[in-house]
Each structure stands twice: as C-alpha cells, then as structure tokens.
Symmetry: C2
Subunit: 277 residues, 2 copies
C-alpha cells in the first residue's frame, strides 16, 4: 500500500476536485465515502480508480476483509494522514475510507417497468432516500430531472446506501430528454397533495412513471402539465408529507400491487402489457 503524505499529491488533488459537480461530470468519476458504500460498490463489480485509507481505519475484521478483497482485486490503495483524508471527506466525522469510482454510464434505451423521476428534488438526503426506495420497490430506472440535485454528490451517495449500484440512473439537462426516456407507452403520475386521484386508485401493473417535484415549490410546469396528479389521503390536518416519504409510500404501493399480480420484475410485467404481444 502506497503512502501519501502531501496535500499536493496529484491523486489527492483530483479526488478533492470531485466534491464539485462540474468536476464529476467532466471526469465521469465520483467519491464514495465510508466502508459500507465502498464495500457495496466493490460487491456490485465497480472497478474503483483508487481508495484512500486513514491510518485509524483498519481496525475491525470487516474492514480488514474489505481491504484484503480490494488489494487482491488489484485496486490501488493509498494510506493517507487523517487530516488529508478529511480534505476529501464530506462528513463531519470522516469514516477513514474514501474511494474514487467511475459514474456508471447513463443507459440510453427506454426502461421497462416502473420509472421514478426526481423533478427538482433539491435535498440530497431526499434524493438518496428515494433512490433506495426505488430499488427496494423494484423500479427499473430513476431519472434526475433538469433542476434536481446531482445524483453523484457525496451526500446523495451516502443517503442512497448503495442504491446507486443497483439501478439505472439517468441525468437529464432538459425536460425533453426526460420525455424521450419515458416514451409514449407509459402512464405518468405526479405526487401532488391536492390531487383528486388517490395513489392507491392507480393500476400500477401498467408501465408507469412517478414524478416527485421540488420540496418547496412542487412539480415543474413541464411535469405538472404532462402527468396526472395523485395524492396520499391525509388525516389529522396534515397538509403533506416529506417528499422522500411521500414518494416512498407511493413506490411501495406500486410494488405491492405488482407483487400481488406477479409483475415484480420487467419480464413478468411484459406478460401484462398487451402492446408487447
């Protein structure tokens, strides 16, 4: 394991730059922080560019196993001072390990099954939580819309807890790109507390997309005009739910319906889609 002792080390400088969205987009690389995220990426078959490790890191059995696996796989490992690692860390309490990983290529073809669209979700925690829920609910694609937070920002990666390596993610810089990905054969819904249609009144066994708007301002004009507003009935004078919670409640209602009819994956779904016959 090589040792890095200077903040001017080129690899470390490059990693530091990846805290900014522009640098991530230009390089196609992102930062993974913490043993859990690094292990998740490694298990998912991601080829890590480099892994920076603090002296204090390799204490437990699990950590040692991770390092051994990375080393055996030929991943470049670098031992760095705590203070240097803190410079590429996004957390208040750095977790002693940060990896540089390639951002998976955005898939160009239209996804089958359920699609989640983050239309202007601004909070990284919400975006990561929704990604995790989308994977758990069996969605096939998550689209980050023009105004949404960067899917590969350190905070979104952390909140996603490995979801980034388990689902196709597309980032669109214009709504027209979102529409292309959604295709014409899909029913579009947007979560809206004022919607007249209940989220459980939808037939989620059909190819569908769920759009979640901005936390403060709701869905964009483009999304609102393209999709049917659906609401979660609220009791007790509550006006609305947190965006990540509302999105997750709807995603798992979709999953529940699809599992009931055995449409839990894309293959089974095609059986229910007459347009494919």
């Amino acid at each position: 394991m090589l040792e890095i002792t200077s903040a001017n080390n080129p690899r470390l400088k490059m990693a530091r730059k990846l805290q900014r969205r522009r640098a991530r987009e230009q390089s196609g690389l992102c930062l993974l922080e913490g043993a859990r995220l690094v292990a998740d990426a490694w298990r998912a078959g991601v080829t890590l560019e480099s892994v920076f490790i603090a002296r204090s890191f390799a204490a437990g059995l699990e950590q040692t196993e991770l390092l051994a696996a990375l080393a055996l796989g030929g991943t470049p490992l670098y031992l760095v001072e705590e203070a240097l690692l803190a410079g590429i860390s996004d957390t208040v309490t750095p977790q002693g390990i940060v990896a540089v990983a390639p951002i998976p290529p955005a898939i160009p073809e239209i996804a089958s099954g359920l699609v989640l669209v983050l239309d202007g979700i601004a909070d990284p925690g919400n975006a990561g939580t929704l990604l995790r829920s989308a994977v758990g609910a069996g969605a096939g694609l998550v689209i980050f819309g023009p105004e949404a937070v960067d899917a590969y920002s350190p905070k979104v990666l952390r909140a996603g807890v490995g979801a980034h390596f388990r689902i196709a993610i597309a980032t669109c810089s214009a709504w027209a790109e979102v529409e292309t990905l959604l295709g014409n054969e899909r029913q579009l819904f947007v979560a809206d507390a004022r919607g007249a249609l209940g989220y459980d009144g939808v037939d989620w066994s059909l190819p569908s997309a769920l759009i979640i708007g901005n936390e403060a301002h709701g869905p964009s004009q483009a999304a609102a005009s393209a999709a049917i507003p659906i609401a979660i009935p609220m009791q007790g004078g509550v006006e609305s739910l947190n965006a990540a919670v509302a999105g997750s409640v709807i995603l798992f209602e979709a999953a529940r319906q699809r599992l009931l009819i055995g449409a839990g994956d894309g293959t089974a779904l095609e059986v229910c889609d007459p347009s494919r016959d």
Copy 2:
C-alpha cells in the same frame, strides 16, 4: 413589545436551558423554532408562554399577521438581538422567532385505533418524520419508548412540522408503561426486514400497534418478544429501508386499508371491533 438586550435576562436564560431534555422534563416546557411551528402551535390553541423575535423577523405579510394574532391573543412578545436569539436557536440559520410552549400532558387512558411505538428511535429527524406520518395516517397515539429520543427536542419538533399539536404523545421510561398504554386487546407488530409476514398481509382494521426499533440495532428485546415481525418485501438487493421511510410505508398501508372499510377514525373503528358490542 418588550425588549431584551441582555443574555442574562431570566426569561432568556430559562429558554436557553430548555435546549436540554432534563430542563424540559422538569419544567414541562419546550422550544418552538421558526414561524411555521409557532403558527401551527398557535392555531392548535396552544398557550405560548413567551415568544422571542429578532429585529430582522417581521418582514413579510405572513409574519406580520402571525405577530398581530399573537399580540391580540395576549402572548408575551419580546424583541431580542439576533445574537441573543441565536443562543436559544437550534438551527444554523436561525429563523428569527422562537417560542416557549407547554408540553401537552401525556394522555393516561388507552388510545383507540392505531398506535405507533418509537422503540429506541435515536435520530430526531426520523422521530419527527414518523410523528408527521402517524398523524397523516390517522393514528391515535404515538408512544416514545424508554430508549427513544425526546419527543420535544428542538430537532424532533422541527422535523414533525406541527404534528406534535395534532396527536397524543406519551413518553415511557420503562417498557411496562408501554404495555399498559397498549392494553391487551391490540395486535402488536414490529417492523423487521427479516419478518416472514408481509406488512400488507396484516388486517389493519383491527386495533393494532406498530413498533419501530432503533436505526442501528433494531427493536429492543422487550419489543421483539412482544410483537409479530412484519417486513416490507424488498427487491434489487436492498436489505432494508430508512426507519422513518419503512414506518411510514407501513402506517399508510394501515391507513389505506382502514379508509377502504371506512375505519378512518376511532368512531368508525369501533363499529368493526366486536369486543365493543
């Protein structure tokens, strides 16, 4: 409106102490920060002990209306310097208004309908989010178990966005107290990713309680032995959901079932409960 210019002002000192749980429990008071929470409490009929306002606060129409309503209602208002208000504020960007409010008395009788038990939930954001979901899903009571975060900590209040004034909240210092509140006529479920029973396989029209365990360690021994584990089926290799998301997904499945059979409130529920005939 009286003016406070010294950090040693007794009212301000008392408010500062309320940032600690012990002081809240001894005084029966808590801090509400931000215009939204203060307005929510005021609308819910809470008698505010005192309201501290920064000079920069009263800018918009909404803020002016809130202040006018509080003043007309006889609430003691105090103008304070920004720096002094920051001393009783929990947020990085203080919102210019903090109120001292009484903690509602814990209801002693057994609640009807759905009960949520936060068994060791440690993250204030999760606790507040779950409270908000419990209200929206029509639950009748939220119990904070022995190891849970304080329901009236500033962060839980903020994440609850007014939910604290719309549902009965009980804090139990021992599991035996939780059991007393739950009574004997209620089916108990605990969210557990390894549970064999699906959360949608439960008949939520019956009097029920949902227990959510600690984020890292899961449910307590007492909770695990008292309740049936239920799981949300997961796809895509996701092991579990965030505790607040998982709890909310289950709460709204319960609400969905109860609304379908018209058991959305306690009164209607009794019709379905043969033990009450």
